[in-house]
């Protein structure tokens, strides 16, 4: 599946392996959550960056000791409207995590902006939807009411309403109309 990032489609540097697959000799590798604890001693010696496929039923506190060493966290959407991963991504960013947070699973373009806002920055997208639609969906809504969320990508394109309102030039006459 193509890997989508805010700037567009990119090649995927990462290799995802299963619980018992041999690790590649070198390169970036992501393992299932269960393997992190089990094989940590081996993993930290790996020549390449480390990532984890983290289940949406786990608490991120469990990642605690491993987090600084993880350059990628993959969060799965078993079904697109299971919204737990939105909170997991948000918590990771609030905790200061600066690595890549990738969404995988049943993704539809209509969720893209929400994902970008809470801190996802990579998406395993289905070719069921046109690549053009995926790109357009990143900018569908030009505004967002919430602030305090990640909107660090210029292509996200949604200004925070509350911030925009505070710009003196944008205070409009309508506001004088008290109810």
């Amino acid at each position: 599946m193509p890997l989508l990032k805010p700037d567009g489609f990119v090649a995927d540097d990462w290799i995802l392996v299963g619980m018992d697959d041999p690790l590649p000799a070198r390169g970036d590798v992501a393992v299932p959550w269960g393997r992190i604890a089990r094989d940590w001693e081996t993993l930290v010696k790996h020549d390449g960056r480390l990532g984890v496929v983290f289940p949406n039923s786990e608490k991120i506190a469990a990642l605690g000791l491993y987090l600084p060493r993880l350059a990628l966290i993959v969060l799965n959407f078993p079904i697109f409207n299971d919204g737990r991963s939105f909170s997991i991504a948000r918590q990771l960013r609030l905790a200061g995590y600066a690595g890549e947070i990738r969404a995988t699973g049943h993704l539809i373009p209509d969720l893209l902006q929400f994902m970008l806002q809470v801190g996802f920055d990579a998406f395993d997208v289905s070719e069921r939807f046109s690549l053009d639609l995926w790109l357009k969906s990143m900018k569908r809504m030009s505004l967002t009411y919430q602030h305090g969320l990640e909107d660090r990508n210029p292509t996200f394109g949604a200004a925070a309403v509350w911030k925009a309102r505070q710009q003196p030039s944008t205070i409009s006459q309508d506001q004088k109309d008290a109810g």
Partner: protein
């Protein structure tokens, strides 16, 4: 009331375009129904028994004449000339086509309305006291906070795919007309000992299959912390609320399964993490919003209006309507007018396009262009000079809107039920009509006194029967419609869930059963001042069970 600035306008316009695109993709088969369903629900579009139904948001129940007129236009152009007001202050149209919906949303956007998040597993319409800004007992108008919450919760990226729907209610008065104790989150305004506004946060209340009164998680939360604290609650719910069983997915189940103490502990632990200062309530923004809710320019009126007093003396029908439907206002010389949408034998909460226009005109002329939708499927003109009441009453009367039954037995609350709703197990409207006709005598209703009858057509309880003084729940017994009666519910600040009184009744037996209950109450009450609810709480269920079930 709140008016959109350029950003709010752009937001709803973007949203309309987004939905138009989604609907087109659905019709072209580029989205499956399973994928499209949550998207259309988050724009208020349901698939019901006969057609699509569109639920339009009326934020905290407030609208103006222009908006009401537009709803009338929509009823005529795209529906069958009427709408239905709901128990959460919204309006529903029952005969909508998917292919028209984007155009309807576009028409709504022109008048600063939308159908955003009136359904779906997200935060729904934030509801409040329908007498906000007018009631004599209010600490302060809760609607600025309701508007703040509306914006904060609109297309919230983290909380749009919750385990289940999420309903928030806000009140600014000690007499709670917003039922905050039976909401997922209820907010009650208080003044702390420094006279600063703060909020009691109640969580985990709800009705439906497992009705329960919410728990207080914070007694005096400073206003500046509202959004951050709510996010902590919602994050705990989003992560740990059940997703395995649709009927156990509300936050009330989580609160119940964890227990109040553990739930509070988890919320506080989440809240204690850093990052919440980013979500602090921006005081400038709250002030900006509050300025829209500045009181209207009330005139300096005397307590005494000769026209009003004269009319009251001369016209007993008017006098009665004033006594029952007109409530005291906090400003001298003004009144709160309650418009009953419960005519004798009528469909509770239904309003025709013509009636919408009549009410809009009255609001424009007599109520500073403001209307409210109550939780009881009625309408309110919040700020009316007493000297105008007679003229208003005459207009209402000529359009079937002057039934003097507010808060009485005839003011029945009923969901659409099996006549419209794909989820229903039984019809509710004919039950309401049957009771309404049996007790048509308005003198009798007045003698009985305050009495709330709530009827739900299924256990989802959209008629809020659990908090009816008399609740009626429609069920299916071997293919026949069958009705269970509960007694003693209340949605007020002393909230209680009604108790099932005994075996249920067939449809045609329900009015008689109600009559037996009423007669028992009239026999046993101390005096006219002891309301049905008070008498029930004093006497318990036994005398009423005997009245219903003891063999003759």
């Amino acid at each position: 009331m709140y008016r959109y600035d350029e950003f709010d306008h752009r937001f709803v316009t973007d949203r309309v375009n987004q939905f138009r695109d989604q609907a087109q993709r659905r019709l072209a088969g580029q989205l499956t129904e399973d994928e499209f369903r949550p998207l259309r629900l988050m724009n208020g579009l349901y698939l019901q028994l006969h057609a699509y139904m569109l639920r339009i948001a009326i934020p905290y129940g407030t609208l103006n004449s222009r908006q009401m007129n537009r709803l009338a236009d929509i009823a005529e152009k795209w529906d069958r000339g009427y709408g239905h007001l709901t128990t959460r202050q919204n309006i529903q149209f029952n005969w909508i086509k998917l292919e028209d919906t984007a155009d309807i949303l576009g028409s709504l956007a022109e008048v600063e309305m939308h159908a955003i998040q009136t359904s779906g597993n997200c935060v729904r319409n934030v509801t409040t006291d329908h007498w906000a800004g007018a009631a004599a007992d209010e600490l302060a108008d809760p609607r600025p906070v309701a508007e703040l919450l509306r914006q904060w919760s609109s297309l919230h990226p983290e909380f749009s795919y919750l385990p289940r729907k999420f309903k928030i209610a806000v009140t600014g008065a000690p007499n709670d007309r917003a039922a905050v104790k039976v909401h997922d989150i209820g907010l009650r305004m208080h003044l702390n000992d420094k006279n600063e506004r703060c909020w009691e946060v109640i969580a985990g209340g709800g009705q439906g299959r497992t009705p329960i009164v919410g728990i207080t998680v914070r007694d005096f939360l400073p206003e500046a912390e509202l959004l951050a604290y709510l996010e902590a609650i919602m994050r705990v719910y989003n992560l740990y609320g059940r997703r395995d069983n649709k009927f156990k997915a509300r936050i009330k189940i989580l609160v119940h399964e964890l227990g109040a103490e553990e739930f509070k502990r988890q919320v506080e632990a989440e809240y204690a993490k850093k990052g919440y200062t980013e979500v602090e309530v921006d005081q400038r923004e709250l002030q900006r919003i509050t300025s829209y809710f500045a009181p209207p320019k009330f005139a300096n009126l005397s307590k005494w209006s000769p026209e009003f007093e004269q009319a009251r003396l001369n016209d007993p029908g008017f006098a009665r309507w004033v006594k029952v439907n007109v409530a005291p206002h906090r400003v001298q010389g003004y009144s709160i007018v309650n418009i009953s949408l419960k005519p004798e034998g009528g469909i509770p909460g239904d309003i025709t396009a013509e009636q919408m226009r009549v009410v809009a005109e009255l609001a424009l002329r007599f109520s500073f262009d403001e209307l409210r939708v109550s939780h009881h499927q009625n309408l309110v003109l919040p700020h009316v000079e007493r000297s105008s009441l007679y003229e208003i009453w005459k207009v209402l009367k000529s359009h079937g809107l002057a039934t003097a039954n507010l808060g009485f037995l005839g003011d029945i609350i009923a969901c659409p039920g099996l006549d419209y709703c794909a989820l229903a197990t039984a019809r509710s409207i004919p039950i309401a009509q049957g009771i309404s006709r049996r007790f048509a005598d308005i003198d009798k209703q007045e003698e009985i006194g305050p009495l709330k009858i709530n009827i739900s057509g299924c256990i989802n309880a959209c008629g809020h029967h659990h908090v009816g003084h008399i609740g009626i729940l429609g069920l299916d017994k071997r293919g026949e419609e069958f009705y269970q009666i509960t007694l003693g519910g209340s949605s007020s600040e002393s909230a209680s869930i009604g108790q099932i009184i005994g075996p249920g009744f067939a449809a045609e037996q329900v009015p008689e059963a109600i009559e037996k209950i009423i007669n028992r109450y009239l026999e046993l009450r101390h005096d006219r001042d002891e309301t049905f609810l008070a008498a029930y709480r004093r006497l318990g269920a036994q005398p009423f069970k005997e009245a219903l079930y003891a063999s003759a």
